[in-house]
Amino acid sequence: MSMTARRTLCFFLWLGLSASGCGSAEPAAGHLTEAQLPSRDEFPVVAHAMQLRCGTLDCHGQVGRNLRLYGVGGLRLSTPESPIVDSVFDPTTVPELDASYQSTIGLEPEALWRVRDQRASPTQLSLVRKIRGIEKHKGGQLAHEGDALDRCLVLWLTADADPDSCEQVIAAPRPEVD
């Protein structure tokens, strides 16, 4: 994760903690805290699974979304270092993974901190509530607790990634339309 992203998260944590008058288990207001974030190194396989289920152009492959996902099959991000020549066929780039990662972890930094550091329920995260259908989600319920997509995303968010679950999502056959 870049220093900018780390500083941003620390700032948000400080802001959230200052405003909420946290208990003794939480850092004192005004002190920056190094948060344990979901792994960027393990994100590519998670991103690939999310791209298939969440990142289509009619859903989170849109620039106007808070959760904004980039990659092949959806919204593309062209940078001078990794220009997108063919928006349909070019594979997902590292800057796209970086952008999707920052979008995902930046959705609810305080809640993510509670889930990661305080072992709060992952359902504190809107992302989890929405894919499980606990909270209204225009894309509908995408996962059930414990299924491959749920494990792929929730384990990466809360603890260590489970690449096998993500691979199951990626390898799931699409229906034959013939």
Binding site: L52, T56, L57, D58, C59, G61, Q62, V63, G73, G74, L75, R76, L77, S78, I84, S87, V88, K138, G139, G140, R174, P175, E176, V177, D178
Partner: protein, 185 residues
Amino acid sequence: MVRNTNGHVLGVMRCTYLLSIGAACALSACADPVYDDAIAELGGETPGVSPGPLHRPGQPCVLCHSQKGGESEFSLAGTVYVEAPSQTPIEDVNVRVVDSQNRRFVARTNCAGNFFITPEEFAPDFPIWLGLDRGDILRDMDTPVYREASCAGCHSDPKNLSSPGHVYLIENPVEEPLVPGSRCR
């Protein structure tokens, strides 16, 4: 007497206010300016083409053809072109749809390349997967569709970072035999 969901009595002023809003909405159809602007941006009809199955190819059909848009409802609609770089529509293409309940429907493009499916014919349960065929040429869409009922909602021209460009049948005209375009007059 009017009570809200918590059982509290609503004041007369508040009731009057709510009734006024309701009446205003009924009269104005509670216009959504963003939606209205999107429709206005589509512009007028092409001269010589009357509103109907052949009009406005390549446009996001369901903007208007929806409950909100006020025209006859479509559950899915779009336009198919011969090739990616071509603006020539193609007719008699089967548009095959399978929804999340594994229900299937096939629509066919007309001479403007347009196809449309009404809710009475088929009301898919999203996500849906789509494929095209005409003769021996088959083309499946790589990604599912989760909510957008207009092809052009995502497949707008020109191709760019947020659009794959219009829907087309032939990927490689050398390997895939060229089929006639459109007989529209």
